[in-house]
Symmetry: C2
Subunit: 532 residues, 2 copies
C-alpha cells in the first residue's frame, strides 16, 4: 500500500498518518522560494484535530510492539531511514534549496549530517549502554534484613511529538535529531512539519514511512502532519497519548508548548531548544596579537547562512582598548563588504529587519552589509555598546535571529566577568585567548560553565559537531531543560526513564538485565561497570 | 564559632544559616508527641524572607568554591556527616521517636539508612562515573571538515532547596536522600525543616554544619530553615539563586512547588515525590495455592508504620473467585485484629480519618482495625469494590495516606490489565505469581513498566532498598519527573547537567576530562567506555 512511496518523487501535498497518505482539510500552504518570493507547488492543506487523533491513536497502538523490538532491529530501521534519505539525492537537495534559499553546499552537508545522526543512533543502540542496565544481586544472608534482587533498565516514554524547525529543513526537522533519538529510544514519533519547507518534509516523511514498511515496524511508528502550531501543535502536545515533545524554535513558541504540557492532567516533558545569543569573549592578549584577524573571522561566522543558526555569535564582549579597536575596525570593513543573502522565510526576514531596527535605537551602529532590493534579504548588522548600557537594556540582551551582532565594551576584566555572570542561559560561549590569557580565561571559564551548554576556545560557535561528547543545550532560555542535549548521542536519554525490577522471575526479565548478559552490554553490577 | 554545635545535645530552637545559629522571628512551633498529644520543648520560631535571603546569598557565595572541591573532598564531607549523625546515638533516636510516634526499632533503622545513603554517595563520588566524562578527540585530517576536540562532563546546577518530609524524619529530611545527592553533586543545600520534627531536624542540621566546619567546606554549603511551605517554602523555590528543588510530600504540595518554579523568570527543575497507591496484582494460581497466606502478608505490609509509607499497598487487583475469597477472608481477620497505632501528626491522623470516611461512602467496608480512644491513632481499614466502579470513581483512585487499602475485584485477566492500563503513574507495582501465572504476568509486566518506577514480584512494596539499581520514582503523579529517582545512586543526576568543552587548552581542562585520565575514572572515548 505504501511500499512504493519514494519510488515516485512526485510530491502529493498529503500528510502521512501511520503509512497512509491523508489529504488535509484546512488552510492550504505552499513552500515559498525566498530568493524569488515565488510559491512552489503542490499545496499542503493543514490537518485538523481528527488527524491528530488518528496519528496519536496509531502511535499509541504501535508503541507496545515498537518498544519491544530489539536494539538491533531499531538500528536497522534507523539505517534504512538514512539509506532512503540518501537515495533521494538531488530531488531532496533541489527541493530543500528551493524552499529554504540555502545554498546547495549547505543543504548537501545537512543531508549528510541528517543521515549521520540516524547512523549515530543506530550505533548507540548496538553499543547498548543506553539501557542503563544496573544489577544489585540479592543478598539473602544480609543482616538484619536480606536484600532482594534489584535490577534497573531504561524504558521508552511513549509517543513523542516533534516540531520541525525553520532553520534546518533536514537536520532539525522530519528526520532530524529529535526524531532519530526518539525512534532510537523506542518511541513512535509524530512530526508537525514546519510550513516553511512542506515539500522537503514530505520527501523525508516518505523516506521514514518506507523504512517503517521495509523493516517491519508497526505502521503507527511514524506520522507526519501539517498544521498551525497554535491549533494542531497544541492539540498534539495536549493529547494524553503523547508522552514527550521535541521542539526547536523561538522562545515564545517553546515557552507556550512548555506551558501547554504543564497544564495537562499528566504533565509531560518538553525539550525545547529556544533562544541564545552565544557570547564571544575575546581576551586582551588575543586582541593585542590578532585583533584584526579575529574581527574578520568573527564576521565570517556571523554572516554564515544569513546568521540563521541557534549558535550564531550575537554578542562580543571584550575590554576596550587598541586591540578591540583593531577587532572592530576589521569587523566594520568585513560587514560593510558583506553582500546580502536570502533568509529562510518572509517572516524571518521581516522579524530580522524589525530586530535590527529596535537594536539600532539602543546601541550604536558600527556597520551594515550592502543594500539590496532582493526579496527576503538579510543585510548584516553590527552594533557597539558599553557594558553598563548592555546590562540594563532588555533590547540589547534579546536574540535577533539573523546576521546581527553587538559588541560590548568593558572597562576591565572584572567587568567582563560581571557581564558574563549576568547573562541568561546560552547554548554556547566562546573564549579567544593567547597563552598569556590563560589565568583570566580560567576565571571566566568557571563563570561560563554555569551559563552555557558548550564552551569553546579559539573557534566560532556555528558548526555543531554530531558525536558523543557534544552538548547542544544549556540553561533557560537556551533550552527548557538544561540536563539534556538535542544534538549528540546523549540526546536519547530525553525519551527514556529508569524502571527497577525487584525479584522478577528469570523467565520474565528483559534481556538487558537478564542473567548471563545475553545482550553483551556494559552493565553496572553492585555499582561497578562490567561486560560480564 | 560553630565548631562545637554537636558537643552539646541541648536543643536551641534556632535555625542554622551558613553555620550561624539564627533565632526565627515568626510563628513558634513545637514538636508534638503524637502518642500523647503533648508538645515538646523548645519552641522553633519560623524564619522569614530575610532568612531565605541570607541562606540563598550564602549558598550562592559558597557554590563556586564548593563545586570546585574534588570528588574525594566531598566524599569525606559526606562521610563526616554520616559519622556525626551516628555519633548522636540515643539523643537523636529518642527525639525522633518522641516527635514521630514511630517505634525505636524503626527510627534506629532509619538512622542506619540515612548514614548509609550518605556513604553510598561518598562511594559514588569516589567511583567517578557521575562526571559523565566523554571525549571525542580532534580529527584534524577529517574531510570535508576537521573535527574539533570535544569533551563532556557534568557540572552542578547550583544551590538546591530541600523540603523535609513528614514520614521519614531522617531518611527523607534534613540529611536525607535529596540532601545527600545534592551535596554529592556539588550543590549547596538549604533545607526547610518539616514542622513535625523540628528537634530531630536541629540535631541533624548541626551534624551537617559541624561537618562543614571540620572538613573545611564553605560556610554557605548548608543552611536549615524553619517556616511555612506557603510563604518561606515558596520564597525559597522562587529565589533566583536557587537552581533546583527536592521535595517529598503531598500531591497538592508538590504541584504547587512545580507551578511556582515554572513561573520563575528562569524556571528550575522540581523533583517532587508525591502520590502513589502502589497496586498489588495477585494472579490466579498464586491466589489458588496461597490466597490466605498472601492476604495475611498483605495486611502486615499495609499496617507497617501505620501505613505511612509512599509505597504503602493501597490497592489490590485480582480476578474474583474462590482464591480471592480466601485472600479477602484472611485479610479481614488480620485487619480486624490489628491494634491501632499512632500516626505521625494530628493533621495526618485527621486526614486519614477523612479519607477512610470518604472511601467508605463509595466502596464496601471489609474490615476495620480495633477501636481506640488514644490520640492520633490509625485504625486500619480495608474495602472492596468492583473494577467498573473503581474505574469511574475518583475517590477510589485517590491515595489515602495511612493503613487503608482497597481490593478491586475483576471479572477476568483482561479486566485486570484494563485496570492496570488506566491507572495513574505509580512509585511501585507488585505482582504475585505462581510458575503457571508467568504468561499472564508477562503481559501485565509490559503494561506496568509504563506505569511504575519499580515493579516487584512476590514481595511487598514497603521497604525501599538504597543501592545502585533502585528506582524510587515513576510517572506523574508519583513524581513530577519520571526520568529520575529520589532513592539510590542514580539520584545524583537530578542535580547535574552536561557541559561540552571544545578545544579547551590543556591547562584549563577539568581533571575529569583531562588528558591521561588523572582521576582514573570510566570515560567514554569516541563512544567506547574505557579507564585509559
Amino acid at each position: 500500500m505504501t511500499a512504493s512511496l519514494t519510488q515516485s518523487t512526485e510530491l502529493t501535498g498529503k500528510m502521512i498518518i501511520a503509512g497512509k497518505a491523508v489529504q488535509g482539510s484546512g488552510t492550504a500552504v505552499r513552500g515559498i522560494d525566498p530568493s524569488t518570493g515565488k510559491t512552489l507547488e503542490p499545496a499542503y492543506n493543514h490537518g485538523d484535530l481528527t488527524d491528530v487523533d488518528a496519528a496519536a491513536s496509531a502511535a499509541s497502538a504501535a508503541f507496545g510492539d515498537y518498544r519491544a523490538t530489539t536494539s538491533e532491529t531499531r538500528a536497522q530501521f534507523l539505517d534504512a531511514i538514512a539509506d532512503n534519505i540518501a537515495a533521494l539525492g538531488d530531488t531532496l537537495i533541489q527541493r530543500a534549496v528551493a524552499e529554504s534559499g540555502l545554498p546547495v553546499g549547505r543543504i548537501t552537508g545537512e543531508v549528510g549530517r541528517t543521515t549521520g545522526q540516524l547512523r549515530l543512533f543506530a550505533s548507540v543502540l548496538r553499543e547498548g549502554s543506553w539501557n542503563g542496565a544496573r544489577i544489585d544481586p540479592a543478598l539473602p544472608d544480609r543482616a538484619p534484613l536480606p536484600r532482594a534482587d534489584i535490577r534497573q533498565r531504561k524504558v521508552a516514554l511513549g509517543p513523542v511529538a516533534v516540531f520541525g524547525a525553520s532553520n534546518f529543513p533536514l537536520a532539525f526537522s522530519v528526520a532530524g535529531g529529535d526524531t532519530a533519538s526518539a525512534l532510537a529510544a523506542g518511541c513512535p514519533v509524530i512530526v508537525k512539519a514546519h510550513d516553511a519547507h512542506p515539500g522537503t518534509s514530505e520527501l523525508v516523511g516518505r523516506a521514514i514511512s518506507d523504512a517503517v514498511v521495509s523493516t517491519g515496524m508497526p505502521s503507527g511508528t511514524f506520522s507526519l502532519l501539517y498544521g498551525s502550531g497554535r491549533t494542531l501543535g497544541t492539540a498534539l502536545v495536549t493529547d494524553p497519548r503523547v508522552k514527550a515533545v521535541g521542539f526547536t524554535g523561538s522562545r515564545s513558541g517553546g515557552t507556550a508548548l512548555v506551558a501547554a504540557a504543564a497544564g495537562r492532567r499528566e504533565p509531560i516533558p518538553v525539550y525545547a531548544e529556544m533562544s541564545s545569543i552565544n557570547p564571544v569573549f575575546v581576551l586582551d592578549k588575543a586582541l593585542e596579537t590578532r585583533g584584526a584577524d579575529l574581527g574578520r573571522a568573527f564576521v565570517a561566522s556571523l554572516t554564515l547562512g544569513s546568521g540563521q543558526f541557534c549558535t550564531n555569535p550575537g554578542l562580543v564582549i571584550a575590554v576596550d582598548g587598541a586591540g578591540l579597536d583593531s577587532f572592530v575596525d576589521a569587523a566594520r570593513v568585513a560587514v560593510s563588504e558583506t553582500a546580502p543573502t536570502t533568509m529562510l522565510t518572509p517572516n524571518i526576514a521581516s522579524s530580522y529587519a524589525e530586530g535590527v531596527d529596535k537594536l539600532s535605537k539602543s546601541a550604536t551602529e558600527v556597520a551594515r552589509g550592502t543594500e539590496t532590493d532582493a526579496p527576503n534579504a538579510c543585510r548584516a548588522a553590527l552594533f557597539v555598546t558599553d557594558a553598563d548600557t548592555f546590562l540594563t537594556s532588555e533590547v540589547e540582551q534579546e536574540e535577533v535571529f539573523g546576521a546581527s551582532s553587538l559588541i560590548v565594551k568593558c572597562t576591565d576584566a572584572q567587568q567582563v566577568r560581571d557581564v558574563a555572570s549576568l547573562l541568561e542561559g546560552q547554548l554556547t560561549a566562546t573564549i579567544h585567548v593567547d597563552d598569556d590569557d590563560h589565568a583570566e580565561a580560567g576565571k571566566l571559564l568557571s563563570v561560563l560553565e554555569l551559563k552555557a551548554g558548550r564552551i569553546l576556545f579559539d573557534g566560532w560557535p556555528t558548526g555543531v559537531e554530531v558525536g558523543h561528547a557534544m552538548v547542544h543545550g544549556g540553561p533557560f532560555p537556551a533550552t527548557s531543560n538544561s540536563a539534556t542535549t538535542s544534538v549528540g548521542s546523549l540526546a536519547i536519554e530525553r525519551f527514556l526513564r529508569p524502571v527497577a525490577y525487584q525479584d522478577v522471575p528469570t523467565a520474565l526479565l528483559p534481556s538487558a538485565i537478564a542473567d548471563g548478559n545475553p545482550d553483551k552490554i556494559w552493565r553496572r553490577i553492585d555499582g561497578q561497570l562490567t561486560q560480564d
